[in-house]
Symmetry: C2
């Protein structure tokens, strides 16, 4: 488990320097509980260059501290990851809030499906699109 507070520490442990732009990005991400897009970070951190934002996101992705996921319409977004290596996400299509979940049942099911199709299952991606409990239109459709 990687607590949010240690985003910078995660990078330092991997041998990257704790520079001012990385600090700014880490602090902003730690305040966010929702998902975020690269463009949003760039807008909210005008002092940090575009390339550096993308570079830092990439480092965090590689470190496993951030996940790349798809919105319901297929565009890209990111989200901090608290759970360890393998997990899935539910994304609120109203407010963008992301919850992580692990479900042993999912993994069992995937391997069951894997044994029914030819070839070897290497990886999988599961995303749930929800209207979360705190969203106004929850239940109204």
């Amino acid at each position: 488990m990687i607590p949010h507070k240690e985003l910078l520490a995660v990078l330092e442990e991997l041998g990257y320097r704790a520079t001012a732009p990385r600090k700014a990005i880490a602090e902003l991400l730690e305040r966010k509980q929702d998902s975020f897009t690269a463009e949003a970070l760039i807008e909210e951190l005008p002092s940090v260059g575009r390339a550096t934002v993308f570079r830092t996101i990439k480092l965090l992705l590689e470190a496993g501290a951030v996940c790349k996921l798809a919105t319901i319409d297929g565009s890209q977004m990111y989200s901090l990851c608290r759970l360890g290596h393998h997990h899935h996400h539910s994304v609120c299509i109203q407010c963008g809030a992301v919850e992580e979940f692990k479900a042993a049942a999912v993994e069992r099911l995937i391997s069951a499906i894997g044994s029914e199709i030819p070839g070897e299952v290497i990886d999988h991606r599961i995303e749930l699109y929800v209207i979360c409990g705190s969203c106004p239109f929850h239940g109204s459709r």
Copy 2:
């Protein structure tokens, strides 16, 4: 079930005209059993304009004859859909071949998970990344 041969017919049934560019795209897609990218279509059909290729893909997506899916690295690809509305895909990470599957167990599991998380599950996305039976490196890692 929407057989591949009727891609053009699918568009006509929706009130779209059967024009030469659409015919060319439909015929190319019907020959493909694999997934495809928009860029590949554009390259293979130099006589059809870039915008028209994207427009036609969009129409086929809306018609449900084509699905948009993500590769293991998160980039976009498309694939013809033979099964009806709701299904999932397995994508070979070596050759790009896409198989569709429906699994009632998946749907049951999703609704079980849905009842454990706050909010209402609207939709979900599941992709399996495999090395398919006809790929050379199958089993070698």
